[in-house]
Structures are given as structure tokens and as C-alpha cells.
Symmetry: C2
Subunit: 367 residues, 2 copies
DNA sequence: ATGAAAGCGCTAACAC
DNA sequence: GTGTTAGCGCTTTCAT
């Protein structure tokens, strides 16, 4: 990092004049009272057309904008929604995970469209109760929480106190808060059914069932097996957390274990992609030897080679559903959880109707 | 999307009780005055240890939090920084572009670390002046603007009025605002030099020089040619905007044009990846026939196959520099623009010391 | 060490 | 139609 010399001169201390225009100023200049200005600017019907235009013109010319803080204080409102991304030290789950970031974009749009502001806040997952402060302190009206969470009880406790929160995630039994999520069971089933339909029989599962989402996907994995009259091989069900490193290790361990397999369902695209790369480095060809289905359909998956077959979560809809549900909660209603339908996106890593798996091809070592 | 029936019952209209605790309540319960509570909670030295603990305990027990809105109004402050992402209809540049999103993560961290709140705001690029309202209305103290912008003059106009804004982007001549950006000229030069060093001589440039960043990278492209005694082939310099579609079209046109080339420098990783895929679909092997260097080092590039050689922008540093610069501006100082050094990340698509390009290999058609 | 009172910039009765 | 007045929930003189 270097500082250049081009640009403005050093640092003359010249405090920014923050004493901006106020309503009183406009009032004085227009020769009316403050309330008249207030009314004129808020489109009250009690104001004469003449005064209104005079005030409006003045305001526009002087570049005046109503002070939202004061307005909110007076109105006891604050059109702000806080989006909270729990920050998990242990998992090192980070805001820059592709999936989170797509979700953020979708939320930003939905929130903006409804005339609200979006506060982005990261809180330590172990300090989750801190989110309530955002609302108690009047910083935001309500909270949208995103993230793999194993915080069911904390959330329930918040919701029990009528705390305005909506969370992205699985719908759980005895849940007091409103959730929006995709149907993870169905997603897991779709993925697994597709693997089976492509002729695979010995399927690996990658995921951390401590997370409700992953647990549901695993459930779908099992159901699909049952539907097809296949049995789940427990030695192929591996606990992998949501990091690339974990997926890499798991894949290596799996290869070393000697268990044979011809298909893999991973609970995130990042896992899937990492597994594919690790397989490739060890001379195994995807999808010829091992078919793979991921989850999320992040940007990456479309550009990855071979194109990743995956389960897409409808994020646009998710953003909208989250925001609308929160607004309903704020309105004193109790919206039902929303379950979005995941869709299978078939690309190259698992194709139905293609040739069946080959145990060893192109003289690939191992397997 | 379907509504499930599990979960809470329908919608009993039961307005959330927003009349939360106030300082007056604490005061009454503690048997002291409001001012005492205020002082106790803000750690004033004039309060007896006994009163302080009593008040603090009470506040903690009752889950009281000071109303930030009122506090800010009184203090004429608001520890909030708005991050603005211009939304460009024509380019369809979207918040979910991987690069923007990484930047957001980095900013969220930097802002949070400094005890500020981050407001995320998208504004139509054609309504750029709207950002000033964020500050005039007291919603935020200052603005950090991210995004490919061709809005130099508008920004200068804002800055001329002492408007607290810092922008991510190239440093331009006669610039009145503070910018933070990577050295795009150097980045372009690094990329091009690497291509040349790997033995390539007929280089393609993909980018839209209407954007200052891309223009500078192109400048670096030209310099590297000059340094190596090569000439830039104008028929290989193609205007491509920051979308995958545009890159795909450009690549196809390029192939149809019949011009031969053995290297490609793309102004974003997304362009690069798309170009590589399009080349592959047409039977051209990267990097054997065409070496490719991208720009940004987004997540994708690490997982893409073959690994994308690219120029990394140091986003962590960028976030920090942006925030610190803005805070300096808010403090009445005039920070100098920051120029971050880009670094070359060598992966597989352009490797120095590898075998020289082959015009046709593995019986690839065309070329 | 504590309290009373004024006021941050705005809105909304309530008068006229 | 417009002005007067009383707060929204807090901090901070200025008294005591």
C-alpha cells in the first residue's frame, strides 16, 4: 500500500460543517411556521397549493432533506431492517462464502424495494443474544438472520418474547419463530434420486448433520435410498463441515479407506467442487467413475468444469419471503414458515441417461 | 413456494408492543433521576460506585438498551457508514457479482471493527446524486461507494461541497474526492508481462475502456508490450463489458474473425472464465494454445479448472483503507488517495517456464 | 454526587 | 390553511 502525492493536499484541519439545514431555516425563508413546512413536505392535504410549491421549491433548491433520526424519534419508527450474519469462529464460516453473499444481494433488493434501509451486522455466533440489542436500542425494527445456525433454542427464546426476527433455515419442530428456507428434505431426495437414476448405487454423503439443514438433506438422502430399495452405507456417510479444507480431507480419507463408491452428494457446492478436484488429483474421473451432485447452485457451479449438477435454492424468492415475513411480524401478525421448493439443475457431473459408471477408465489409478 | 401448516397459528392481530423500556423507567425503579441513569450508563466519573452498580444491574436485568436514535439526535452524531453500490441498469451490474460481494464482506468487517454500523444501499447509477441524501438526512455520516463508475464529474461535484465520500476505484487526474483502489496500470502490466514471459506474442485484451479501471489496465497492457518491444494488435483489443454474456459473444466473434492469438488478458475473472469455456467448447485448449490471465482473484478462480492465473486485488486492505479514509474525512482531514499493489497469482492458465504455445494440439479443430 | 430543565429536529394535536 | 405547543428519549449545562 502506498500513498500517492497526486490529489488533494495534506491534512488541513477543517472540520466538516455538519450543521446542515433544518426545517426552521426553510420555515424562516418561506415566511411560514415549521409545522407548515413539515406538512408541506409530507404531502399533507391541509396545505394550500401555493405554500406547498414555495416550500418544496425552497427545499429542493437548498438541497434540504428531513432529518430521519428526528423524524423516527418522533414517529417511533425506523424503517430499518438488520440483516445479521452470525460469525462462527470455530467453523470460520465467513461472510464471503458465496452463498451468503448471494443471499445478501437478494435481501438488499427486497428490502430496498419496500422502502426500508438495510443494516448489515455481523455478530459472533456465541453472542447471539446480542442481536436483540439491535432492536431494543432502536437501531432496527427487526432482524433477518442468515446462516447455518445451531441456535434453535436461543431463537425460540427470543421469539417467545415477541421479538421480531425471521430466520433463514430449516423448519423445525416446536419452532416459535418464523423461518424461511428451502425444503431440505426434498432437496436431498432430489439429489439422491438423480444419482440413483444415473445408475449409481454406492453413494457417499458429505455434510454436517449437526446443522438442521444438513440433517434434513441427509434424511432426504435416506428416503431416496428407501424409495429405490437401496440401503444407505453408513461407512460412506461422512461428517464434513462447510469448508473447502474439510471436504478435501474427507475425500482423501475416503479414498484411503478403500471403500468403493460411484456417487457423491455434497451439502454445498463448495464441498462438491473441492471433492471433485481432490478426486481428479487422485486420478478419478467425474462423472465417469463418480457422479456428483452439490447444493446451492452458486455462481461457481455454472462455470466449473465439468459443470456441476446441483440443487438450486431460489434465493430471489427467499429474500422476498424473508422480508415480507418480517414485515408481517412487525405488523403484529404471525406469518407461517415458508418452504421454498429446491430445483435440480442438471449439468455434467451427474447426468441421467448417460453411460453407467466405470470402475476404472483411461487407466486411472486407484479406485 | 408453499405455506406449511406446521408452526404458529394463523394471524391473530396482536400488535407487537414496541413501547420498550426507557431511561425514565430505570430511573424510577432505581429511585434516582434520569440524568443519573444517563451518567451511570455512560460511565461518567461523577457517579458514586454504589449508584452506578445499582443502575447497571437494573439495566442488565431488565434488558435495557439506550435508544440510539434519541442519543444520536441529542449528540448530533450517528455512527453509521453507508456503503453504496451503484446499480447500473444498462450493464446490469449486480450486487451479486462475486467481486462486489467480497468487497462487502471486507467492508463489513472493517466498519464493525471500528464500532460503526453499516448501511447497505443500492442506488441507480443514473440517480447518483441521491446518495447525498443519505448524509443530508442524517441516515449516515458518510458514504463509501463501490462499483465500476464512470461518474467522475458527479463525484467531484459532491466532493467540492465537502461531502464525506470515499470511493473504490482508479485514481484520476484532477480528482477532488479520496479514492482507494488498486494500481490498475501496474495490474495490467503484471498480467501482460506474465503472458509475454510465458512466450505469448499475439495478445487479446478484453475490457471496457469506458471504465477508468479497465482503461488503466489497458494502459498497462500497452506498456508491457512496449517494454518487450512488441506491438499491440488493435484488432485483438475488444470492448467487453463486465458480464459473462458479453465475454462469450466477444470470444465467439474473435474466433470467427480468424485473427490468430495465443494469449488473453481479461479485465475480470468472470470474463476470463467465460472466455476459457467458450474456447474449450470450440476445441481450443487453455493454456496450451491460448494462455489466459484474469483480474480480481475471486473465489471461483481458485476452484476453476484449469486454475486461473489472475491479478489479485487486496480486498482486506481495501476495506480497511476505505473505512479509515472516510473516518479521516469525517474528522475534517483530507486523506490522500490510496493505491494498493495488485499481485499476480500464478495458477495453470498462464505459467511462465512451461512449454511454449502450440498452434494445434490434440487435433483441436480451428485455430 | 445528584436533580431540574433545556433542547437535539421533527410531527401532531389543538387552537384560531 | 396556518401557527402554537407539547413532546419523541436522550444528554448536559447549571444549580444544589
Amino acid at each position: 500500500m502506498k500513498k500517492t502525492t497526486t490529489g488533494k493536499a495534506g491534512s488541513r484541519a477543517k472540520p466538516v460543517d455538519t450543521r446542515s439545514l433544518q426545517m426552521a431555516d426553510i420555515a424562516r425563508m418561506a415566511g411560514v411556521s415549521v409545522s407548515t413546512v413539515s406538512r408541506a413536505l409530507s404531502g399533507s392535504a391541509l396545505i394550500s397549493e401555493k405554500t406547498r410549491t414555495r416550500v418544496e421549491d425552497l427545499a429542493r433548491t437548498l438541497n434540504y432533506a428531513v432529518n430521519i433520526g428526528a423524524q423516527n424519534l418522533r414517529l417511533k419508527q425506523n424503517r430499518t431492517i438488520a440483516v445479521v450474519v452470525p460469525y462462527d469462529r470455530s467453523t470460520r464460516q465467513h461472510v464471503s462464502e458465496p452463498f451468503f453473499l448471494s443471499m445478501l444481494g437478494s435481501l438488499a433488493d427486497a428490502i430496498t424495494d419496500r422502502g426500508y434501509d438495510m443494516l448489515l451486522s455481523r455478530v459472533d455466533a456465541d453472542e447471539l443474544h446480542a442481536v436483540s440489542k439491535l432492536v431494543r436500542s432502536g437501531r432496527a425494527n427487526g432482524i433477518i438472520m442468515i446462516g447455518q445456525w445451531r441456535h434453535h433454542d436461543q431463537l425460540n427464546e427470543l421469539a417467545a418474547n415477541d421479538f421480531p426476527i425471521v430466520v433463514w433455515g430449516a423448519q423445525l419442530p416446536r419452532q416459535l419463530y418464523c423461518s424461511v428456507g428451502s425444503d431440505n428434505l426434498e432437496g436431498g431426495r432430489l439429489a439422491t434420486r438423480h444419482l440413483i437414476a444415473s445408475g449409481r448405487k454406492r453413494l457417499v454423503f458429505f455434510g454436517d448433520v449437526d446443522f438442521p439443514e444438513a440433517a434434513m438433506r441427509f434424511e432426504g438422502f435416506k428416503r431416496a435410498h428407501a424409495d429405490a430399495g437401496l440401503r444407505v452405507r453408513s461407512e460412506l456417510c461422512i461428517k464434513v463441515d462447510f469448508t473447502a479444507e474439510s471436504a478435501r480431507e474427507a475425500t482423501q480419507r475416503l479414498l484411503l479407506s478403500g471403500h468403493s463408491f460411484d456417487g457423491l452428494f455434497a451439502c454445498s457446492d463448495l464441498m462438491a467442487v473441492t471433492a471433485i478436484n481432490t478426486l481428479a488429483e487422485n486420478g478419478h474421473v467425474v462423472p465417469d467413475e463418480v457422479a456428483v451432485v452439490g447444493y446451492d447452485d452458486i455462481e461457481l457451479s455454472r462455470h466449473f468444469r465439468p459443470g456441476l449438477t446441483t440443487i438450486r435454492q431460489p434465493l430471489e424468492q427467499a429474500g422476498i419471503a424473508l422480508v415480507d415475513s418480517l414485515l408481517a411480524v412487525l405488523d403484529g401478525r404471525q406469518p407461517l414458515p415458508t418452504v421454498l421448493e429446491p430445483v435440480l439443475v442438471e449439468r455434467a457431473t451427474c447426468v441421467v441417461g448417460a453411460k453407467p459408471p466405470t470402475v476404472a477408465q483411461r487407466g486411472a489409478p486407484g479406485a
